[in-house]
Amino acid sequence: MNGPPGADRHTLDLAIIGAGPAGLAAAVTASELGLATAVFDEQFHPGGQIYRAIEDAPERAGAWLTLFGEDYARGLELVRRFRASTANYHTGHSVFDISPGGGLGVLGPDGARWIEARRVIIATGAMERPVAVPDWTLPGVMGAGAAQTLLKGAAMVPEGRTVIAGSGPLIYLVARQLRAAGGNIVAVIDTTPRSNYRRAAPLLARAMLAGNKEIRKGLSWRRDLKKATPIFRTGASGVRIEGRDAVEAISFSVAGRTERVECDLVLLHEGVVPNTQLAMAAGADHHYDLVQACWRPKTDAYGRSSDPAILIAGDGAGIGGAELASEAGHLAALGVAADLSQISQEDAAERAAPAFSKLAGKAALRRFLDTLYQPRDEVLVPPDDETLICRCEEVTAGELRRVAEMGCSGPNQAKAFTRCGMGPCQGRMCGLAAAAVLARASGRSFAEVGHMRVRPPIKPITVGELAALDGVGQPPDMGPLLPTGQEDGAGE
């Protein structure tokens, strides 16, 4: 894969970015079908976020697998099949750019190189929706998913009085896991609006048909927690973090009454959203999903994006969870195999049928969950002016509202007006909320104001690493741009 361009262009049939359920399943299917496949992943072990450190799980003390449940165990089987496959597995590699047509800039322990693959599957999954409430940037506030990552990856259990606040199935799962691992959960504050229950209720019966087990499991977790947690509130809103140098308490209101709970750690969670940075960097078309309240790449049933060389599989294309993500990875690999004439379109369709029916079978469950856990307005558009939206450049919601009045019409202009989104995270944390605040301030829809354009490098690369980038040719000779002879001229 190294060497001059041209000589080895497209020796790779398929590059897969990410080794979570979608990426692993895609790699298994693609290599079974004889495609020259490489997987690039930032971590050093397969599994992604959901199956993090899964290969260590059986050896760990205690009932580790029991703690994370049978979903986690299902990951073991997938990882084993991946390990047995012929796919090249590149650990510790980040992808800093993806260009239209399937070019990838990858940075690994041996430096940076540019790779051309005939097809790319982006399987970078989901990220927690950043929850911007007053003082959410104080030490002692983190995402519930991040806490779970620490538990899975490093067996770290938070010390001190812990509060979990937010909405979605994960808050119950994490609360339960942390409690079982010895955490001190003093309060669970569910912010799911009561109106969501009313809207989701008519969808429940069909959802039960699709996922009776999942729903019952969720309900039982909730019941257990309610019994075991000193403070258990539902229908909460107006969450604020309090503290001077670190978290001292969380406050919120339920039915107009404000409550305050002293604590040392707050785990916030308002669902997960697709991690669209690479798909956006590639220039793939996206659309705003009003129900999941996030941007999603436009894909066909196999995950093909608007760029014929680029597919997106798993939660990165829209939230569906680990089980469906692995089906989507499988489908994307079938799509690639058909596109590259490794198998016929008919063969692909036949092989895809079980996955399609599984996806269809779970659709009613997804619709129910999406409706029940649809983020409430104050999560999407933080109402308090003092709330920090961009933590890298310290831009508040109030500041964004102020520049909206000055004629700043969208998140890309806001970068210039306020530096919002110009920090190290490249707008990954603030992009959705910043656009939403600007949309609301100018009376337009989220879709209308658009999203922040993603600028490479997506992941940090140093001057020295870039200067040693392998696999690219010489750029066109521009001649001296500042000729010192008869005529001259140069860029500013």
Binding site: P460, P475, L482, T484, E487, A490
Partner: protein, 383 residues
């Protein structure tokens, strides 16, 4: 239908400057911008305020513009982030230094003394972090750098304060010449004006084509990148002559790196992608000139659409084919510094019929042009 004296097409820094100067001369001006003010080259550039190594034809304009920059707050009510930090062209090779010496002699022969040849020791004293291998350079101590965004906004706000109306997301669909002016159609609306000023940058030829004039403009996408913050080590702006580079440290500590290597793009769709082969070459130049920056992370790379002519200087002046149409576009990646003076010259051309500085070298008829044969018929039809 609305009316005004002048429609300025293109709300970049040149459009805003032209509008401001026209309004100061008492004219009623509307700016039509297809995206939003400063969307493309005006804010994607590095903000260099450079008279150094200018094309001979641009030197009088650049020197006059420099006076505005030195006093920009008085002119616009904003400092535009401008600082006189100097600009230095460094010679990486003996040959490059000899070329700079030839340039120096030639400029002095033409009566210009703003550029100053400096030897390697003087250069190293001014830029202690630079590689020991440099052979000297050419400096303009009175040059500097500004914030492209703030400068463009400052021109915009000054223009609006002078009564200019700026319409954003206003894409011009058609131009039609009448006996006494123009009809400008955009977004289902029509404006009747006496005069059109075309400051549409990389799209300038398309606007000219609507008036029946063919202008051989091309475009390119000079790439920029910015690094993480580093402790202050560099005051002047550095440009390189042997390999393309422009390099400066911003007040917040980040390094802004450009030089003109192009991204790959599509002007119609207004999309582009960074070319990492070009970015690599630029990173090599940085690494070689400033070895201590090897481990500094690059935060972001971008590019902006720039109009470009084969001879690397812009078009400034009246249309060759149509009356009451003036062009100022195609600045080839070095128009930012010129904005204050070009806007003033355009206003002079529109109001007085003649400019206070020589603009012959920028005449549009230096290219072979085709006149739209139907133009006179259309004019007659509206007569």
């Amino acid at each position: 239908m609305s009316t005004a004296d002048v429609v300025v097409i293109g709300g970049g820094i040149h459009g805003c400057s032209a509008a401001l100067n026209l309004a100061r001369r008492g004219l009623k001006v509307i700016v039509l911008e297809k995206d939003y003010v400063g969307r493309h080259a005006s804010t994607a550039n590095a903000g260099g305020v450079r008279t150094l190594l200018r094309h001979t034809a641009e030197v009088p304009l650049a020197l006059e513009a420099r006076k505005f920059w030195h006093d920009i707050e008085r002119h616009l009510g904003s400092d535009c982030g401008y600082h006189t930090v100097g600009q230095i062209a460094v010679a990486e090779t003996e040959q490059a230094f000899e070329d700079l010496a030839v340039r120096d002699t030639r400029m002095r022969g033409l009566g210009y003394d703003h550029e100053e040849l400096i030897d390697a020791d003087t250069l190293k004293a001014l830029v202690p972090a630079i590689a020991r291998t440099v052979h000297g350079g050419l400096i303009v101590r009175g040059d500097g750098a500004a914030s492209p965004f703030h400068a463009t906004q400052a021109f915009r706000h000054a223009a609006e304060a002078q009564g200019v109306v700026i319409r954003e997301n206003a894409r011009v669909d058609a131009l039609e010449q009448t006996a006494n002016g123009w009809l400008v159609d955009h977004d289902g609306m029509r404006v009747h004006v006496s005069t059109i000023v075309n400051t549409a940058g990389a799209w300038g030829d398309r606007i000219a084509a609507m008036a029946g004039e063919t202008i051989p403009l091309s475009w390119f996408l000079p790439m920029m990148m910015v690094t993480a913050r580093v402790p202050e080590f560099l005051e002047p702006v550095i440009v390189n002559t042997a390999r393309p580079l422009s390099f400066k440290q911003m007040p917040n500590g980040t390094l802004l790196i450009g030089g003109g290597r192009p991204a790959v793009g599509d002007l119609e769709r207004m999309t582009y992608h960074i070319d990492f082969a070009g970015l690599k070459a630029t990173a090599q130049t940085v690494r070689d000139l400033f070895p201590h920056l090897r481990d500094i992370p690059i935060m972001r790379a971008w590019a902006g659409f720039e109009g470009r002519f084969a001879d690397d200087i812009p078009v400034i002046g009246p249309s060759a084919g149509a009356r009451n149409l003036f062009h100022a576009f195609g600045f080839c990646g070095h128009g930012f510094q010129l904005a204050p003076i070009v806007g003033k010259l355009i206003a002079e051309l529109v109001v007085d019929g003649t400019a206070s500085l020589p603009t012959d070298a920028f005449a549009v008829d230096r290219f072979p042009t085709e006149i739209d044969e139907n133009l006179s018929d259309r004019i007659a039809a509206h007569g």
